[in-house]
């Protein structure tokens, strides 16, 4: 660890504290500094990385003989026409991205999100074994009930399925809602409590513990 690294470390903590000030002082000049500093930094990193990525996938391939790749390169640069009065030309690269993206996912979506879900759930029901590590019959039954009731809740709108939302079988949608509330509580716990605590802990691990360790190393003392 050298002196310039120590200086950068404390500068980074200082700017980070300016970002932290949002919690107490709101959107001040200090927060604006930290926010825009971060945006500019990430923009620089990503710009350079994408230029290098273009070099490795397009330019090197083209210079080694794959001349057809000039076409997507030209199509990609059409996106810059958005800065001009010929901005309609930017629809071509968007169309390529949309078409390729859609084609790349449709078949696999059917496989992974439809067929796989249905076959796995059906297999669990037939074998009366829930998913690992709860391979018991009750879990399998709860799973199939959950899948069917939540599917019913989502797939049938009130317009097309009165019985499932207003009629005698409206309890199916109700049960589906209960399953969704249980899953919402679980997801809330994972993201809004435990991960939030981990994020705030991370701040102090880096700013306090790690800083103390690095300064101790720099001063020749045994670290924490």
């Amino acid at each position: 660890m050298e002196l310039w690294q120590i200086v950068l470390m404390f500068l980074g903590i200082g700017i980070g504290i300016m970002g932290l000030s949002l919690l107490w002082f709101g959107n001040t000049y200090a927060f604006a500094f930290a926010e825009n500093w971060l945006i500019g930094g990430y923009a620089g990193i990503n710009l350079a990385a994408n230029l290098e990525g273009l070099n490795s996938t397009a330019l090197r391939n083209i210079t080694s003989g794959r001349y057809l790749l000039i076409l997507p390169l030209i199509a990609g640069f059409l996106v810059f026409t958005r800065w001009t009065r010929f901005r309609w030309a930017a629809r071509y690269p968007v169309a390529i991205m949309s078409g390729v993206g859609l084609g790349a996912i449709v078949g696999l979506t059917m496989d992974s999100q439809l067929i796989s879900m249905v076959t796995t759930t059906a297999t669990e029901l037939v074998n009366l074994q829930g998913p690992k590590p709860f391979a018991d019959p009750i879990s399998a039954i709860v799973m199939i009930v959950g899948v069917i009731t939540v599917l019913t809740y989502f797939l049938y709108s009130i317009t097309f399925s009165r019985p499932f939302h207003q009629g005698t079988t409206r309890w199916i949608s109700r049960v589906g809602r209960w399953f969704m509330l249980v899953s919402a509580g679980y997801l809330w716990s994972k993201i809004f409590l435990t991960e939030a605590i981990d994020v705030t802990t991370d701040i102090f691990i880096m700013w306090v513990r790690r800083t103390v360790q690095e300064v101790q190393i720099y001063l020749g003392m045994p670290p924490l």
Partner: protein, 234 residues
């Protein structure tokens, strides 16, 4: 040709190259990839060539176009801020923010292209760790709102809120190593909630989103989804 006929012919020509051709491009590329997915086997010929060369080629094209689009996006950021500084039509804080953004971007590019070792060197990794990583930690401080929000809204007042809160509490307890060690049944209960009812809801939700992806594909196939090219480009 009358003036009206001339205008409508120009409009239909414009419609052709501004809407019809891009929409056709979407459905053409998507269709090829779907056909190759269902009918072209994975694997190699005895000579070592991939049996389906179309899929990797077309997805490479998509990747190249995406990379250029990202470059456009990351060049637009400094352009917007430079325009803002030149025009000076906004308040002082925004002008200040733009100046800081350009300064940070400039310094980052200088380090990447001119510092010893470039983007693989010690200067870059140290700058990235402290001047970006540590600052990022500070910006994520607003996550401190989340535990407060949990305390604020979690009240068992009815059956449905009871389900939500009970599931929340059991799930939290199952993620605390101390609790799962001392009272293993609480850990098992929370894991069961995550593995069975939550997974059931997610499977159903994913199945529904899968259906919507297929619907989107079919609509784009018949050219009935102009939103794929027009919403993004105004």
């Amino acid at each position: 040709m009358t003036k009206t006929e001339g205008i409508s012919r120009a409009a239909s020509t414009r419609r052709l190259y501004q809407r019809v051709i891009p929409t056709f491009l979407v459905s053409f590329l998507a269709t090829i990839l779907v056909i190759m997915y269902f009918f072209a086997p994975l694997g190699y010929t005895p000579a070592g060539k991939v049996i389906d060369p179309v899929t990797p080629e077309i997805t490479l094209w998509g990747s190249i176009v995406t990379t250029v689009s990202f470059i456009f996006g990351y060049l637009s950021i400094p352009l917007i801020h430079v325009r803002r500084l030149v025009a000076r039509k906004v308040n002082t804080k925004m002008l200040f923010g733009s100046a800081v953004c350009l300064l940070s971007l400039g310094l980052m590019l200088i380090i990447i292209y001119f510092a010893p070792g470039g983007s693989g060197g010690l200067v870059y990794s140290t700058w990235n760790l402290y001047m970006i990583g540590f600052v990022n930690n500070g910006m994520r401080a607003d996550w401190a709102w989340h535990p407060y929000t949990s305390f604020r809204i979690m009240r068992i007042t009815a059956l449905e809120s009871g389900l939500f809160v009970t599931s929340f509490i059991l799930a939290v307890l199952s993620q605390l190593p101390m609790i799962t060690y001392l009272v293993p049944v609480l850990g098992t209960a929370g894991d069961w909630i995550g593995s069975i009812p939550t997974t059931a809801a997610m499977r159903a939700g994913l199945a529904c989103s899968g259906v919507s992806s297929i619907v989107l594909f079919v609509r784009s196939l018949i050219g009935r989804e102009p939103g794929l090219i027009e919403v993004e480009v105004i």
